[in-house]
Amino acid sequence: MTILSTLWYFLVFLLIAGYFVLDGFDLGAGTLYPFVAKNEREQAIVRRALGPVWDGNEVWLLTAGGALFAAFPDAYATTFSGFYLAIMLVLFALIVRAVSFEFWAADSKWRPVWNVCFFLGSLLPALLFGVAAGNVVAGIPMDMAGNYAGVPLLGLITPFTLLTGVLGLSMFIAAGACWLSLKAPLNSELRTRVQAIRMPAQVVSIVLFVLLTICVLTGFGSVNTPPEHLAALQWILAALFLVGVIASLVIGRKDASSTKGDLWAFLTQSSAALFLVFLGAASLFPVLVNASADSVGAAITIMSAGSSELSLFCMTVILCIGLPLVLVYHVIIYRTFRGRVSEADIG
């Protein structure tokens, strides 16, 4: 385990966290879409709230995937092939979702089709990403070469992974509700509906998180043994997560009528999402994919899966040049489209 490979372990998680935060509100808003947007005008508002940013948000997934491939090819190969049908479902969902934005706007006759695509395309990934993460933590059966050796698709669903899946979904929904509350017109029914979902989703997140923590600590449904030397860090991150969600919840309730309240509720909720991914990294370290108790092959770790030093060095240079640019682009786009969606925007 070298400095570079350790660095990249955390960088991959950082990219995943970037995805979870940014596409998080995006997928969450898509999941809420049929429940909060009751007419074409409200649908247009939701879509306009995501329109300028969704594509950039999704690129975080491609970046994280590419980084995992480059830095830890074995982990990329094992998870993507092992979770084959689940990945395919996510893929089809993201595909139909991606085209639904443009096609919905341009093709009024087929709007019902693209509405369904948009909703399912948001819901499935929002649920399945958590299930996948749960499997990585809980451990999967592998052969000597590190290939998944369990039952396709159904073998990935256990009480533990369902718990992580639903925790992920509730986090996505809470983030989506925070975003829409921030973007919807101030005195609109849409915003009222969204706010009514925000708090329950956050409460569910907290409850599931506590349950999951108990599972991990007692070893129920998961083989993951959190590294003891990082114990303090894990408790801090867990506490920060809870503080983030609770702060968002409290702000959202106390300051429900102002834009400032919406903004802080969104930011604190996003920070909680960030801490959740970091907590995952801290409690897995140095493992990338856990091996279940009945696994023949060993867990995939930084040591067993890392690319060569030169490769990681090149990746570091690429990231050092690329990431500042990416951040600048994000500042530009989020600044340009700050503020609530107005009538003029959807007209």
Partner: protein, 471 residues
């Protein structure tokens, strides 16, 4: 069915489909940026309407390129896990770089382009159009880097345990012998595609007798971009062919159906009988050798001698798809001829004066229809060219090129995912057919609408199309 075959079918289908929309996107990306710039400079409402229409057509197509592109990045891990393990040290970096340098650029500035008209300065709006095009051209560079490394590996060695390729020199790997020729070859063919789509839309309006001014502008821009790209394409394609001649002997031999060592004919049309190992072709004897080395007598190794060498000992000549590679390669070349011809016709009969007088393209329905369907020719050339490159490297997924490092190669059949079962690939393949069909229908509807709406100001467009729908 065999998992290797299914996985190959899935990759071929998804990549081939992706590579329908990407060429259109990148090609019309340039056209769109030109029209947006023109509108900014002239400040004329009709130029602005034209720019708007092309932004819309671009966006509708871009969406499919993005959506089907995710498939490609995932597919290495899902279907080609053993391949991913073997090449991850080298192959992953360009994919990550593509996302960081190219995808963010194009997706974020497309957001500016689509929604920012009333929010950003007009100059920034123009810059966004060019940045989107730059981003898409840059993404092509990174993916061609990755793909070219599979054709002509460089800057790597086989690991001590033989389980993977390890990078030794990033720049040698990125700019391997085939990267730049293939990048130029690809980009110029994509620009030809874009120019033909533009010409086709122009011809459609001439056929309908509407938007005469806009049609003339599109025809002009399309023809200029077309002529320049075709000229550059010829140079790039030549350097690409020379690279194949030097680096990828079995591919070269398959392209011309060369079983025995000798001079290589430059065939125009022909047929390879794989059973008898005979090639029947009409062409110039020794012509390919002349193009590659300036010598009609240049000798080239045939497949039978190549497979007798240690390097290509894994190949079974009888299983080589020689006729297939021969045919797709020659279709590509033939399409290049058709492209040149169509372009000349468009130049001659699309002259402003002629059209203004109601002659030439304004009159001839045959020519109008020829130009309307003309994007099919670059489409066919691009697809068959891609097939030549990818089927031509079989049976390898990482090809042992002439100057490639020792041991850095992999058979396609060794690259698949061990944990994925045939039925899983069959399910995903069927779903791909279904989902991609939905995408195609959705795209066709949207593009039809955009073209029908035409380059008119938005307020007028609404009423016009709504009125038509009521009819």
């Amino acid at each position: 069915m065999d998992q290797v075959l299914l996985a190959r079918m899935q990759f071929a289908f998804t990549a081939g489909y992706h590579f329908i929309f990407v060429p259109i996107t990148i090609g019309i990306g340039l056209i769109m940026a030109i029209f947006v710039t023109k509108a900014y400079r002239s400040k004329l409402p009709e130029d602005d309407a034209l720019a708007r229409m092309w932004v819309k057509i671009f966006t509708g197509t871009f969406a499919i390129g993005v959506a089907t592109g995710i498939t490609m990045e995932f597919s290495f891990g899902t279907n080609w896990a053993a391949y991913s393990r073997f090449v991850g040290d080298i192959f992953g970096a360009p994919l990550a770089a593509e996302a960081l340098f190219a995808f963010f650029l194009e997706s974020i500035f497309l957001g500016m382009l689509l929604f920012g008209r009333n929010k950003i300065k007009p100059s920034l709006y123009v810059a966004s159009a060019w940045l989107v095009f730059a981003g898409s051209a840059l993404s092509a560079l990174w993916i061609i880097i990755a793909n070219s490394w599979m054709q002509t590996p460089a800057g790597a060695v086989l690991s001590a345990d033989g389980s993977s390729a390890v990078i030794t020199d990033f720049f040698a790997a990125a700019f391997n012998p085939s990267t730049l020729p293939r990048y130029a070859h690809t980009v110029f063919s994509l620009l030809v595609m874009g120019s033909f789509v533009t010409i086709a839309v122009a011809a459609w309006y001439m056929h309908k007798g509407t938007y005469a001014d806009a049609a003339q502008k599109m025809l002009r821009i399309g023809s200029i971009v077309g002529v320049i790209s075709v000229a550059l394409l010829l140079v790039a394609a030549h350097s690409s062919a020379v690279e194949v001649w030097e680096e990828q002997p079995t591919k070269m031999a398959m392209m011309e159906g060369q079983y025995e060592t000798g001079t290589v004919e430059l065939a125009a049309i022909g047929f390879v009988d794989e059973a008898t190992q005979e090639t029947f072709a009409l062409g110039i004897p020794g012509g390919t050798g002349f193009l590659a080395e300036g010598n009609f007598d240049a000798e080239y190794p045939g497949l039978n001698d190549l497979v007798a060498s240690e390097k290509y000992a894994d190949i079974n000549v009888d299983e080589m798809p020689v006729n297939f590679v021969f045919q797709v390669y020659h279709i590509m070349v033939a399409m290049f001829g058709v492209i040149c011809l169509v372009l000349i016709l468009a130049l001659i009969f699309g002259r402003k004066k002629l059209v203004a007088e109601g002659k030439g393209l304004a009159k001839s329905r045959f020519l109008q229809w020829l130009l309307v369907i003309s994007p099919l020719f670059p489409f066919l050339a691009i697809q068959t060219g891609w097939l030549t490159a990818e089927v031509g490297r079989q049976p390898y997924v990482v090809y042992p090129s002439t100057t490639g490092p020792d041991g850095v190669f992999m058979l396609t059949s060794d690259g698949v995912s061990a944990s994925v079962q045939s039925f899983e690939v069959l399910i995903s393949l069927v779903l791909f057919f279904a989902v991609y069909l939905l995408l195609f229908v959705g795209w066709a509807r949207v593009i039809r609408r955009f073209v029908k709406e035409g380059p008119v100001e938005p307020a007028k467009a609404e009423t016009r199309v709504d009125a038509e729908e009521v009819e």
